[in-house]
């Protein structure tokens, strides 16, 4: 499982109330968790606010619909985070093929050609945003969100080896983008 946040507030009562149809309780849950959900979706959407807003809305609506199925086996925050990531990944899948897997190895720069230490945070975000969607998804889930390749493979429907290869290529592409912008 992805690493849980350091300290999640207790929201069990609100979760139960919302599952019974209490809209105010769900609003409280929204306020409590929206920043974490939005952050993950925003990164997966390539740091695109407009898309991240649509996906976040979709994630919360789906959470409302599926709350009755939440069995409290994990924290609500983790469940919601996972659901939101799935919404973002479904959006990526719906947007078509994987350009990374079709890219030739020759197109990629050598590892370490462009050092990242010079990149500012904003520049790094912009570079990640320029990655092809599935390559970005692998890189964001592994390098930023801290998922394991096994989990990424399950969510994106690929073998563990493919996930590792995608990550290697995504990092190479990122270095290339950063090198060009520098």
């Amino acid at each position: 499982m992805p690493p849980a946040p350091a300290a999640e507030p207790t929201d069990t009562d609100d979760v139960r109330a919302a599952a019974a149809g209490d809209r105010q309780a769900f609003h409280r849950l929204y306020r409590l968790h929206v920043d974490r959900v939005y952050g993950a979706v925003y990164r997966l959407a390539g740091f695109d606010h407009a898309r991240a807003e649509d996906l976040t809305q979709d994630a919360f609506v789906r959470a409302w619909q599926k709350l009755s199925g939440f069995r409290h086996e994990s924290s609500f925050g983790t469940w919601l985070y996972r659901l939101a990531v799935n919404v973002a990944l479904m959006d990526i899948r719906a947007r078509g093929a994987d350009p990374v897997s079709m890219m030739a190895e020759d197109d990629l720069p050598d590892r370490g050609e462009t050092p990242f230490c010079a990149a500012e945070r904003e520049e790094l975000e912009r570079a990640i945003g320029k990655l092809p969607p599935r390559a970005r998804a692998v890189l964001v889930l592994h390098d930023i969100e801290g998922w394991r390749h096994e989990e990424i493979g399950v969510e994106l429907g690929m073998a563990v080896g493919s996930s590792k290869a995608q990550l290697h290529r995504a990092r190479g592409l990122l270095r290339k983008v950063l090198g060009e912008s520098a």
Partner: protein
């Protein structure tokens, strides 16, 4: 840059981000069309299987009693038996999940009563009556457990 340094930089991006605007208004409006389904109380697998087995046995009992009634229809009329207790027919479970079984039970009871009018001392009918009472008792226990 080594792997550790790279991950140190990228993991720094993993932090909550506030949306540029409040999304709740749009979400709230969408919830009107997206009804949240309140779950029914969950029964254990054993209880569900038991319920189905009981319902199936009532259906079988009903069919058997019906065919027996047809078989005995032309026999000379005997005195009606009072062994089918009125209590059997009055049972109405409050749990809707058992209501279907109760309907089957009523039908079986009626068929059995007609059959016993034809053959009040039939050992087969007596056994059926005993099984029906036993099954009703089990159903009532289930109803009691379901609260």
């Amino acid at each position: 840059m080594n792997e550790f340094e790279w991950l140190r930089q990228t993991r720094a991006l993993r932090e909550p981000v506030s949306p540029r605007r409040d999304l709740w208004t749009a979400i709230d409006a969408s919830l009107d069309g997206a009804a949240s389904t309140t779950p029914a109380p969950r029964r254990s697998t054993a209880q569900r299987v038991q319920g189905w087995v009981l319902a199936a046995s009532f259906a079988g009992l009903s069919l058997f009693a019906g065919s027996l009634a047809v078989h005995l229809r032309d026999r000379p009329l005997a005195t009606a038996s009072a062994s089918v207790t009125p209590d059997l027919e009055r049972w109405r479970p409050s749990d809707p999940r058992l209501a279907g079984a109760a309907v089957e039970f009523d039908a079986a009871s009626m068929e059995l009563r007609q059959a016993m009018e034809q053959a009040p001392h039939s050992p087969a009918l007596q056994r059926l009556l005993y099984r029906m009472q036993k099954q009703q008792s089990q159903l009532r226990q289930l109803e009691h457990q379901a609260g």
